[in-house]
């Protein structure tokens, strides 16, 4: 090889090596999540832009699937291969399960420096910490006992937001009689269970909910009140349209947005869909607690669990954790997402009417100790029990078993999954 050629070859090799090194040093976070619908992606963008302004690249890893099941499977594969993502969106007991595996990062330093212990509600901290160590940054508090209604439909039929079960059935009857679908719903197990959460809460009250779905007391699970719960689930089934099987939750929201359906029983992430469609709370859509559950909040909190990564990635990871808990981010993100900040010291100025109501309800419920985890979203019982209950609820909801049979199967399922 001539001297010239050799020099050029070595020169390009040197540049190549230098580029590789500098690329490795650029701060990057890889985030696994399932926020893929319109409203959710817009909300996550707030965090992306916040980090990018700090010079940290955001490597997005979205895995679609409303309840997060597919994302958890992908996570398992990544951890088993030894290369976990920097941060993973997770709910409830899954966080504690992963904490037990010992593959997560210890955030106590950041938590102490930023004073997290004082501003995060205890009910949430139960899921953010494992073995006394902070392992996750809570992003928000969603609550699941909401109904989202089309205001035009309600006004035209002269319906006021129902405050108890009988008014709810009367309202649904009116909407069904007018030719529209009374309740928009997607026939997926987690959506059926979301309705189940609210029906348990309204039928038996807070203590019944706690005994049955958190303490998993067999007697409570087998009681007559539980049979009434299943009867009421069958009643709700009568108000759905025939194509609800397998429908995604945001398509059900779309039915309400377009005025094809009157109500959707869904957590407050549905608000993001309404906002994304340009609707305004109080003018185009109504938000009210599931009839009979005002004063209680069944919550689920999205938290970003930070996994144990190599030393070069740690500074970027710490920045991510801090950025998630910053009050400005918490306000901006939750305004778009439809949930309530995980920090109690964030002002509700920027929030719309539904958001303000949600924050007020959360304060009220937390104060009265009526803030409790949602079963359908993994905050009341671990995954094995949650899925066993899903089976019974969805089988019953789809008409395979009677209410008496469902109660018996519920007791057996919970016992068998523990």
């Amino acid at each position: 090889m001539t001297k010239n050629r050799l020099a050029r070859l070595l020169g390009s090799a040197a540049i190549g090596i230098a580029l590789t090194f500098s690329a490795a040093e650029a701060a990057e976070v890889e985030v696994l999540h399932w926020w893929t619908s319109g409203g959710e992606a817009a909300a996550l963008n707030v965090l992306k832009q916040d980090l990018e302004s700090k010079g940290i690249t955001w490597k997005d890893m979205p895995v679609a699937g409303g309840g997060g099941e597919q994302a958890m499977t992908v996570l398992r594969a990544r951890v088993a291969s030894g290369e976990p993502p920097t941060a993973v969106q997770m709910l409830g007991f899954d966080i504690l399960d992963w904490g037990k595996e010992g593959v997560v990062a210890d955030l106590n330093e950041v938590a102490a420096a930023e004073g997290w212990d004082g501003v995060v509600p205890l009910a949430l901290q139960a899921f953010s910490k494992y073995d006394g160590k902070w392992i996750a940054s809570p992003v928000n508090v969603h609550s699941t006992n909401w109904i989202w209604a089309n205001k035009a439909v309600f006004d035209k039929l002269g319906i006021a937001p129902p405050t108890n079960w009988d008014e709810f059935i009367a309202a649904a009857d009116k909407i069904k009689a007018s030719g529209l679908t009374a309740i928009a719903h997607g026939g997926q197990a987690w959506q059926d269970a979301t309705i189940f959460d609210s029906v348990v809460l309204t039928t038996g009250g807070f203590d019944f909910y706690k005994k049955a779905l958190v303490d998993l007391d067999q007697e409570t699970l087998g009681s007559d009140t539980m049979k009434t719960v299943f009867d009421r689930m069958s009643q709700i089934r009568g108000y759905l349209d025939p194509n609800f099987s397998g429908r995604d939750w945001n398509l059900a929201s779309a039915m309400v947005i377009k005025g094809e359906a009157g109500m959707q029983i869904m957590g407050d992430w549905a608000k993001g869909e309404f906002l994304n469609a340009g609707q305004k709370p109080g003018q185009d859509f109504l938000c009210f607690r599931f009839p009979g559950t005002q004063g209680n909040v069944t919550f689920n909190s999205d938290q970003f669990v930070l996994f144990a990564v190599g030393d070069e990635q740690k500074p970027a990871q710490v920045e991510l954790a801090k950025a998630i808990m910053a009050p400005t981010f918490q306000s901006a993100f939750n305004v778009v997402k439809g949930s309530v900040p995980a920090r109690t010291d964030v002002s509700d100025e920027a929030f719309d009417d539904c958001g303000k109501k949600a924050m007020a309800d959360l304060k009220e419920a937390a104060g009265a100790n009526h803030l409790i985890g949602s079963l359908a979203h993994g905050h009341a019982a671990p995954a094995a029990v949650k899925n066993a209950i899903y089976d019974v609820v969805t089988n019953h909801f789809n008409g395979s078993i009677s209410s008496e049979e469902a109660v018996k199967q519920l007791m057996a399922a919970v016992a068998g999954a523990q």
Partner: protein, 301 residues
């Protein structure tokens, strides 16, 4: 020996061993990734693994839990219904189509690929397309209503009792062309002298097929059965795409059961146990077949 003959004999040895050398890497990979991991799964089925593998031996506790799940019985029952109908209808339909195509019709060259096309689709595509077609609000039922036949109903897809039959429909549509192709090849391999001799003896067409042709196709039946049986036991993507396991859990099959218990429900021990049961079912089908094949070969030798 001179150097020339040593080199010659080395080259000769290499040439003789060449097939083994070429196959060795694939063999090693298959041995590790298929059989090695099967053994690993079998070991996991004797543990109480939850989210990640846990290697503490706990005996048959995972199997006890498995047989206590009502979902498992639903899955096995669905496998029985689906498997029998799928294999039976595919073989019957495939044989019929092959016999009809074998009548030396003019457009055989056009019809054969048309029947075979569904095989080119993946099960996910088949499942999704059939889901749209069978959805009462989107597909067949809605079209019939729009064409004026308003009392037509075909809501099997959302009916807990009938949903498994929709999976049979989609799977048969996909695979019967393939079975037809296998049978056609088999039919073409039958010596036409035999047929002519039977025709001279005065046998009717139907009798010829029933007594001569079909018995001669016995090896083809066996191949078709093996292929279809293993596809039936493994079917996961079709079920997920078509019904998602629903409505409720009505179309749960062992493959979907295994996946959900291992990955979604953090009960890896139970999932591994169900995988071992699936393996035993497949082995129960394949091993006698292999045995009969080897015995025949030994007889021929």
């Amino acid at each position: 020996m001179t150097t020339a003959t040593t080199i010659d004999s080395t080259i000769g040895w290499l040439q003789r061993q060449l097939p083994k050398l070429v196959l060795a890497p694939s063999f090693a990979v298959v041995l590790l990734f298929v059989y090695g991991f099967i053994l690993w799964t079998i070991y996991l089925s004797f543990t109480e693994s939850k989210m990640m593998p846990n290697y503490g031996f706990t005996g048959l506790s995972a199997y006890a839990r498995l047989w206590a799940q009502p979902n498992w019985y639903v899955a096995l029952q669905n496998l029985g219904i689906f498997g029998t109908l799928y294999i039976g209808i595919c073989i019957g339909l495939g044989l019929l189509l092959a016999i009809l195509l074998d009548q030396r019709i003019r457009i055989e060259g056009l019809l054969r690929p048309i029947y075979l096309y569904p095989m080119a689709l993946s099960f996910i595509v088949t499942g999704t397309a059939w889901q749209w077609f069978l959805n009462p609000g989107l597909g067949l039922e809605k079209t019939m209503h729009e064409w004026g036949w308003t009392s037509f109903t075909f809501d099997w897809l959302i009916n807990s009792d009938k949903a498994i039959y929709t999976i049979v429909i989609a799977a048969v549509w996909q695979s019967s062309g393939f079975v037809m192709a296998i049978f056609l090849a088999g039919l073409r391999g039958i010596d036409s002298e035999l047929i002519r001799a039977a025709q001279i003896d005065g046998a009717s067409s139907f009798a010829i097929y029933r007594r001569i042709v079909i018995p001669m196709l016995r090896p083809v039946f066996l191949s078709a059965f093996i292929v279809l049986a293993h596809m039936a036991i493994k079917s996961y993507d079709l079920v997920i795409a078509l019904t998602g396991g629903g409505p409720g859990r009505a179309t749960e099959v062992p493959a979907t059961f295994m996946y959900s218990y291992t990955f979604t429900r953090n009960q890896m021990g139970v999932g591994a146990a169900s995988a071992v049961i699936m393996l035993m079912t497949i082995a129960a089908v394949i091993v006698p077949y292999l045995y009969s094949e080897l015995r025949e070969r030994r007889h021929e030798q």
